[in-house]
């Protein structure tokens, strides 16, 4: 028996032993940094910051066609659909809807012509936005209800007639809560 134990191992036995030992070793683990949780955190932070900035001030670029009036109001802005009335055009969420002539709407753009108040092309676009916002409200339950809020960024020279026509058209599309975007008075001085 003792002689058998001291017998040198054959090449096949050595190879089998090496294979067994190798199998016992843990598999090579990749030592890299998992960046997915970090990306999630960064995305959440980015969304939070964008929403924060959007609530604090409107993103408005002033030009010769768009000069925003000053006001003593200190009311904060909410996130809502934006309508811009410059001297040359009306845009909804940054997309041009109709052109203006010195801030006036062409009678051909209104239901009933010159004496009309409903701006047909604007009405068509805001109806689409209303339906989209209502669909979002329906999907989100009570978290984002449709409030009919609009913020109006208008050139200070816009005639009251044009403003009335825009407000009337918005009202016909269930947008009844209006906020005028102004510059705070202290920035003027």
């Amino acid at each position: 028996m003792a002689e058998e134990e001291q017998k040198p191992a054959s090449m096949g036995q050595v190879k089998a032993l090496i294979r067994r030992r190798l199998r016992r070793l843990p598999e090579h683990q990749e030592q890299s940094l998992n960046i997915y949780p970090m990306m999630d955190v960064m995305t959440i932070l980015l969304v939070f910051m964008i929403m924060q900035f959007a609530q604090e001030s409107a993103n408005v670029v002033q030009s010769t066609e768009l000069q925003i009036p000053y006001s003593t109001s200190r009311a904060a802005l909410d996130q809502s659909m934006t309508i811009t009335i410059s001297r040359a055009e009306i845009t909804v969420e940054g997309r041009p809807v109709l052109t203006l002539r010195n801030g006036m709407v062409d009678p051909s753009q209104k239901q009933g012509g010159g004496s009309g108040f409903l701006i047909t092309s604007l009405h068509r676009v805001v109806i689409q936005h209303r339906d989209r916002l209502k669909a979002i409200a329906q999907l989100s339950g009570r978290r984002r209800p449709f409030t009919g809020e609009v913020q109006i960024i208008a050139d200070r020279r816009t005639p009251f007639r044009t403003l009335s026509e825009v407000i009337y058209t918005l009202g016909q599309a269930e947008f009844a809560s209006l906020h005028f975007v102004v510059l705070q008075q202290q920035q003027h001085h």
Partner: protein, 65 residues
Amino acid sequence: MRNGQQDWGELTTCARRVKLQFEDENQVILSADPEVEFGDIIAAMDALRGDNDLFPNILLSAGVR
């Protein structure tokens, strides 16, 4: 009007006089001629609001013309 410019301070004074008579009232209806500029509408709203102690709820009316 003063020197061809609107006297918004005078409008605030007038609103203050009205407020003294109707202390519980917070609303005011603002209307204007079609050619009045938006900047003047905002100035009138500021004048009527005062320091939020006069008429903070301002309703815009296009009027019937």
